[in-house]
Symmetry: C2
């Protein structure tokens, strides 16, 4: 078993109604791998520039199960940087700035030592770049991709070609609607299955997530969190993906029952992320802590 | 055990993107009692005018477990009538007309034979009217109330006084936010508990429902329904309440575990209502059909 993620590493600046964090470690691959590492080893492939703060490497290294052999630091390049501000209800945010930096250059390559990876998560990136990663991972057993509105709009054909190659698609509800033109997530999910994948996960933020699989469907609410429990929602979706994929890699299964359990592991993992700024909420997360939270989630959702 | 509902009986005219129904039986007490009757007897208290169609009585009578002894038909009065049109996504509707009719007159009274009722649902009505029903039900074991934006706005003090008298409050997410000024449903629910009740149910439509109880919380998604499964959402909330209360009445418990199961019974009951116009989706619903749908719901929501 071996789990790999390809995605962004960024320098995030975040403002919420109650606080802020400046130039903290962020990016889809950072959140994914920090989240996944609570369940076991995870391999990270991503690029940063020469401005990447040394403290950010220390933060990622403190998550001991993250293998950083695929992290490329490039002289003369700038790290991806993002700034965002959340509205009062924390469900809406404005992007204050985006500096693409290395994301405009050639993508990093998969190190030789990572080429036998079996569980593959393609975090949000240009679908052409995501496609090129697949060619470097011949032993993959399960591939899941994330994407975003931008690529649905400007790289639609590339995205459709990629969707036909992967096993699973993970998008939020508005992206699924944009991709299919269908508002109902079950109907939209079935339309995406016709493009090739075995399953689709529709992320609904505070309203949970839905799984549409060729063998059936599942639906799960978000973890119960009161107002004071939501400090910074940044990275919740990538953390959900990290907990989800780490579970599948750990049990080495991807049938419907395993995917349902993986949804629950993703849900409780993401609930830790939003409790603090940046990656801080995931610090110290381990199997006992996840299992404890899973018991709370089971108790809140299961009925006699 | 004895379940009673007080609320409206109406003549509904409904337009959806794919069809319409003219002058069909509707109103909160009609949906509640038709939904509850699948699990056992339910007593209905409501008033109609002399224009009330005889076919509507036949429809209600076809749900054999509804006791119509509390149905008052008034000469010289008009029945409450409502017209609505749903938007394409079925989550938004416009009210086309509202003719209050008997709702502007004195409320019906609880028949002597209903006064020993133990499980009481006060469907949406003026809180002063709801309060007057409580005085006529001295043996009540559990009282749950529904309300709406109008009463939160124009009868706020009456509503607060009533909330202090009941065991449970059932509102949708926007009403809970309006009542408390708090957007997070768990935090808003806790604020309402401070007003007196033992629990609050926050209905979120297609996103399910949340229970905030003095002993803990529960969260449940909606039943999985594809686009073609949603014909007419009218009455879904009242049907949810009917299935919920009928379960509690049937098991004669109102602890946290029972309330969680009741949420599930309410959820699967409501999923039948939206499959057809008016009360038609509830026709023929019985315990085996509910248990079958509950198995599907359990399979879609429970994880290992």
């Amino acid at each position: 078993m071996s789990l790999i993620v390809t995605g962004t590493l960024g320098i995030d600046s975040i403002e919420t109604p109650t606080g802020s964090a400046q130039r903290v470690p962020g990016g889809s691959a950072a959140y994914f791998s920090a989240a996944a590492s609570a369940q076991g080893p995870v391999r990270l492939v991503g690029a940063v520039g020469e401005d990447w703060p040394e403290e950010h490497r220390s933060v990622l290294s403190s998550f001991r199960e993250i293998d950083l052999a695929g992290l490329e630091q490039r002289g003369g390049s700038q790290t991806f940087a993002w700034g965002g501000r959340y509205h009062d209800n924390m469900n809406v945010r404005d992007t204050l700035f985006t500096e693409l930096g290395v994301l405009e250059e050639a993508p990093p390559s998969v190190p030789e030592s990572f080429r036998d990876s079996r569980y593959v998560f393609l975090a949000n990136s240009h679908p052409g770049v995501q496609n090129s990663f697949l060619d470097q991972l011949p032993d993959r057993a399960l591939t899941v991709l994330d994407s975003m509105d931008l690529w649905i709009e400007i790289a639609n054909a590339d995205l459709h070609a990629l969707i036909a190659r992967v096993d699973g698609v993970m998008l939020n509800d508005s992206e699924v609607q944009q991709l299919t033109g269908i508002g109902n997530p079950y109907s939209a999910g079935r339309r995406i299955l016709e493009m090739g994948p075995a399953f689709v996960i529709v992320k609904k933020g505070e309203h949970g997530a839905i799984l549409v699989h060729e063998d059936g469907v599942a639906t799960m609410p978000a973890f119960p969190v009161a107002l004071e429990g939501v400090v910074d929602p940044t990275g919740a979706g990538d953390s959900f993906a990290g907990g989800f994929m780490a579970y599948l890699n750990r049990v080495d299964r991807c049938d419907l029952e395993a995917l349902k359990s993986a949804l629950a592991w993703g849900t409780v993992t993401a609930s830790r992320t939003i409790e603090a700024f940046g990656l801080e909420g995931l610090r110290g997360l381990d199997m006992p802590a996840l299992e404890e939270r899973l018991d709370v989630f089971r108790s809140a959702t299961h009925f006699e």
